[in-house]
């Protein structure tokens, strides 16, 4: 399996007034294509910071981040935006759908940001994803007309629409009840298995961790364990 994400001694610190806060204190790991990996840890441990770095929406203070063979740690905003458009996708804890767009339009939006796909192909692709996430009867609905679970399904479809190298999910079930959360996780797992999409998600929920095939535990900005489903340290 090929490595698609590689973090090498990534450190990140913030300044809170005059106080230096070290969010990451030297994190290194690799993700290979097709993984279904959880980054686990308590609140404030640094798991979201890792996702932000991998997702090219935040820069490390030091260290290297290689995505798809390219070092993205020092790229300009424009280049990082392009990476986010073509290589990485997000699923947010709060779903983050565009409120004025309906289900179809929300899912279609990332495709409209990049030229390349003709209208007919785009429509077919979006419709296929809508079908896969089970929202065929909700195409015209706006986010405020959907339940939490339905919104997260839209977010998943939106994340997959550009066929990214990796989908990053920041506590994707945190705002859902346990039943809906489990269904969303099942959907992600199913898509991972059927389409081979790489998923990396942060969580502090043990139920979700149990579903992951690899769990990278982090505490106080340092990796404390990195365990695969088989129980072997990676």
């Amino acid at each position: 399996m090929s490595t698609i994400i590689e973090l090498g001694d990534v450190k990140k610190h913030y300044m809170l007034g005059t106080t230096k806060v070290e969010a990451l204190r030297g994190v290194s790991f690799q993700i290979t294509r097709g993984e279904f990996t959880a980054i686990a840890g308590p609140s404030g441990s640094g798991k979201s910071t890792i996702l932000n770095m991998v997702g090219c929406i935040d820069n490390p203070s030091s260290g290297t981040i290689i995505i798809g063979g390219d070092d993205v740690s020092g790229l300009s905003d424009k280049r990082l935006t392009k990476y986010r458009r073509s290589t990485i996708s997000f699923i947010f804890q709060s779903f983050n759908l565009i409120p004025v767009l309906n289900v179809y339009e929300n899912i279609e939006l990332p495709l409209l940001l990049e030229k390349g796909m003709n209208e007919a192909d785009r429509k077919a692709h979006v419709m296929q994803l809508i079908e896969e996430v089970g929202l065929t009867d909700r195409i015209k609905n706006k986010p405020n007309q959907l339940s939490g679970g339905q919104r997260q399904r839209v977010a998943i479809a939106r994340a997959l629409v550009t066929k990214p190298l990796v989908v990053l999910a920041d506590e994707p079930t945190a705002n859902l009840d346990s039943v809906t959360g489990a269904k969303i996780l099942e959907l992600m797992e199913d898509l991972n298995k059927r389409q081979g999409t790489t998923f990396v998600f942060s969580t502090h929920d043990h139920t979700i961790m149990d579903k992951a095939r690899r769990v990278i535990s982090i505490q106080d900005g340092l990796i404390t364990s990195d365990v695969s489903k088989a129980g072997l340290a990676v």
Binding site: I57, R84, N96, L97, E114
Partner: protein, 473 residues
């Protein structure tokens, strides 16, 4: 702004406007008012300007006036007590104007003042009078502005009514209120003047009647009319020109001492005065000549022709000759544009403020857009379109309302209070003439306002980090 025309940006912008209806309605209303002010106000002001010119040229000054180049002042409807110097060569100028193909009509005017002397209860009473002395037929042909209310207008040359004075109704009232006198049409009066030589001159005359001005009553209520022949007698504008006098006589006028004058008696030609050689004085007492051209746009070329003739005159265009009247419409336009500018300035700040509030409320949404790969230009396009779409829609409503109002006045025009109408367009209703300028100005200004008001908010929006997506929507 490579993403400016991306349909997705326009769609998000349009729906975001609809999502915030009340706030956007407030801004839209202000833009509508501003556009209405520009379009209706601009149409009103430009119509007032063109109607004002038409009225001033048509009833007041003509396209231009010629006046003596010895004059230190310019002709004005108010310069009675210090009349301008008379125009020299006025007969020659009149003859030249008569044959000029550019000239539609003209009239020489002697602007002056004097007294009407009458007897009341056995006592002499002198009534002050400001007047235009005119070639009465030419005046009527050039400025058909006098509506005779009592008595009659000046008769044809040689008739019993060709000479006299025609008084304004306002003058009649003023004499009645101040002196308890009402001059009747046909009444014989004596006119008195202070001649250039300092002596008082008196000529018998008659009151022909009264008139009411059709336009610019605020000027012509105070001006009365006199025929040119009576005026010439009253001010001694008859005689011979110094140029046609014998040389010896002119020498005598120029002599510097008594001896020099007596020495002239010894010259051979001194006692020979050839009466036939004397020409009539080429001086009518006109202080200005008002000229209407067939084509106003030819005024400049016409003035070059005047200059080429070597007449001893200067010229003044209609808008200067009418004193401040021509500038009333300009002032109105300036006030309208000033008010509009203020409204739009307020709109810029309110719009800017509202857009910033929108952005602060939507940092999660902007962060999400950035996180899923939207460039800064895409975010800019959304907010620019929000501003443009809202303001254009409001502008269209403003234009529509303006057109409705303009149409509602119809061909009759806007009926203004008389005092306003007199100053603005010389009286009567103001006909509104639709011109594209106010419409284009309105739309152009709205686009500029949209752009200006969006500059800073866009700067704020594009600087929203994609990290904001992580903090929720």
């Amino acid at each position: 702004m490579r993403d400016l025309f991306k349909p997705a940006a326009i769609r998000i912008a349009l729906r975001s406007i609809l999502r915030r209806k009340v706030r956007m309605l407030l801004i839209g209303s202000l833009v509508t008012i501003g556009t209405f002010l520009i379009v209706f106000g601009g149409t009103f002001a430009s119509s007032a300007q063109s109607e004002s010119k038409k009225a001033i040229v048509g009833y007041f000054t003509g396209d231009l006036e010629l006046y003596s180049n010895r004059s230190k002042e310019v002709p004005s409807p108010f310069s009675f007590t210090t009349p301008l110097p008379v125009v020299e060569d006025s007969r020659k100028i009149e003859a030249w104007l008569d044959g000029n193909p550019d000239v539609q009509s003209f009239v020489s005017i002697g602007q002056n003042y004097g007294l009407i002397s009458i007897e009341k209860d056995g006592n002499k009473l002198d009534l002050p009078i400001l007047f235009y002395a005119v070639d009465t037929a030419r005046y009527q042909k050039t400025f058909d502005n006098l509506q005779v209310t009592t008595g009659q207008y000046f008769g044809a040359e040689g008739s019993a009514t060709s000479q006299g004075i025609l008084l304004s109704e306002a003058q009649k009232k003023a004499y009645h209120d101040k002196y308890g006198v009402t001059l009747e049409p046909g009444q014989k009066v004596t006119l008195l003047s202070l001649t250039g030589g300092g002596s008082v001159n008196a000529v018998p005359s008659q009151v022909l009647g009264y008139f009411a001005p059709r336009h610019y009553s605020n000027v012509f209520d105070y001006i009365n009319f006199m025929d040119m022949r009576t005026y010439s007698s009253l001010f001694n504008f008859t005689g011979i020109t110094s140029g046609s006098l014998p040389t010896s006589m002119n020498d005598a006028f120029a002599a510097t001492s008594d001896d020099a004058i007596f020495d002239l008696a010894d010259t051979a030609a001194f006692d020979k005065l050839d009466v036939a050689a004397l020409s009539k004085e080429d001086l009518t007492g006109s202080t200005q000549i008002a000229i209407k051209l067939k084509d106003s746009s030819r005024a400049e070329a016409f003035l070059k022709d005047v200059e080429a003739q070597g007449f001893q005159v200067k010229s003044i265009p209609w808008n200067k000759a009418s004193s401040f009247f021509a500038s009333v419409a300009d002032i109105l336009q300036a006030v309208i544009y000033g008010a509009t500018f203020l409204i739009f300035l307020i709109v810029v700040f309110i719009l800017m403020n509202t857009l910033i509030i929108n952005i602060l409320e939507r940092t999660g949404e902007i962060g999400t857009l950035r996180a899923i790969g939207a460039d800064k230009s895409f975010v800019s396009a959304i907010f620019l379109w929000e501003s443009i779409l809202l303001n254009l829609f409001a502008a269209i409503v403003g234009i529509g309302l303006s057109l409705l109002l303009i149409a509602s006045f119809g061909s009759g025009g806007v009926k203004l209070p008389d005092i306003v109408a007199q100053y603005l367009v010389g009286g009567g209703a103001l006909k509104l003439v639709i011109s594209p300028v106010p419409f284009l100005t309105g739309v152009g200004l709205v686009l500029v306002v949209s752009f200006l008001a969006t500059l800073y908010p866009i700067r704020v929006a594009v600087n929203v980090s994609p990290l904001k997506a992580m903090s929720g929507n």
